[in-house]
């Protein structure tokens, strides 16, 4: 099981989502993708998309206004 971190700090709304979508296609089954974000909007749409897609998702606020979205690719 690999862990891939993508740094989207300072990137505005659709960018973290698109990066996460592209990265998730590349990684293997069971790998974990960690998306670092500080844009409150991405905090909503990244988990929403990943959950809808059926992956396991966890959001953690690592600092004030900074989050890590942890996505485990399950399919």
């Amino acid at each position: 099981m690999n862990e891939v971190v993508i740094d989207c700090l300072g990137e505005a709304c659709p960018v973290p989502l698109v990066k996460a979508q592209n990265k998730l296609k590349e990684i293997g089954l069971g790998d974990v993708l960690i998306v670092q974000i500080d844009h409150s909007c991405a905090m909503k749409n990244v988990p929403e998309w990943a959950r809808k897609d059926g992956h396991n998702v966890e959001v953690e606020e690592v600092d004030d206004g900074e989050w890590e979205v942890i996505i485990e690719k399950v399919k």
């Binding site: 709304c13 059926g54 396991n56």
Partner: protein, 230 residues
């Protein structure tokens, strides 16, 4: 809903959480800011009741937008990007509420024979409306937020959107500067439509709510279709 049994388990984690600095306690600052809001509000209200009212409504709007992560940009963009329409539906519900509220206010004035407030906003629609809406749509997706969203994220301290804000101000000033030209040459060529004049008060509300309802159903169907396709 495609979430079945697997979602209850959290992702496995191998990461250490050692390098995490403790968060600062923001409550004292928050209390100070609230006191500041109240103080400024009282000062404004002493000058004019309307100013105080604007202050309160402005702060309430900002607070709700921020807490709800409400985003008009996302409501138009996420159906395409994520297949999720929760914000789209939230905007439709907001439109329903404002339709009812504004109709109540305007109808209240109309049956008393008073001039209807807000009629200055009934402006001609034309091809310029479409062109402007398209440009605005492109711009807000690139800038990462519409007007309210940009303001809200500047308030959150998101630096990139300070740039958006600067150009938002420049663009607005530029637009205001040239507005007479556009109004004379393009906007005034269109026709202003006030729905109650055409369909009657009940007809106008019924029509608008029907369209919103159909859009809502379309949003739900679209979301189901997208999650089945994946």
């Amino acid at each position: 809903m495609s979430e079945t049994t697997t979602t209850s388990s959290a992702p496995r984690r191998a990461r250490s959480r050692a390098n995490r600095k403790p968060k600062k306690n923001q409550i004292p600052i928050g209390l100070l800011v609230v006191l500041g809001f109240v103080g400024i509000g009282l000062a404004l209200a002493a000058k004019s009741a309307m100013l105080g009212f604007f202050w309160i409504t402005g702060i309430s709007f900002g607070f709700i937008l921020q807490r709800a992560r409400f985003c008009f940009t996302a409501s138009m963009r996420d159906p395409y990007l994520t297949g999720g329409t929760s914000l789209t539906r939230a905007v439709l519900i907001a439109l329903t509420l404002t339709t009812l509220g504004f109709t109540a206010i305007k109808y209240g004035y109309a049956i008393k024979g008073l001039p209807i407030p807000g009629m200055g906003y009934v402006v001609p629609i034309s091809f310029a409306t479409l062109a402007g809406a398209f440009l605005f749509g492109v711009g807000m997706v690139i800038a990462g937020g519409c007007a309210s969203g940009t303001l809200m994220r500047v308030g959150e301290g998101f630096q990139m959107q300070v740039i958006s804000l600067v150009f938002f101000v420049i663009g607005s000033l530029w637009g205001a500067h040239d507005f007479e030209f556009w109004k004379y040459n393009f906007i005034s060529k269109g026709k202003a439509v006030f729905l109650p004049d055409v369909f009657g008060w009940f007809g106008a509300v019924a029509l608008q709510l029907t369209i919103i309802g159909l859009l809502y159903i379309a949003a739900v169907k679209y979301e189901q279709k997208r999650s089945e396709a994946e």
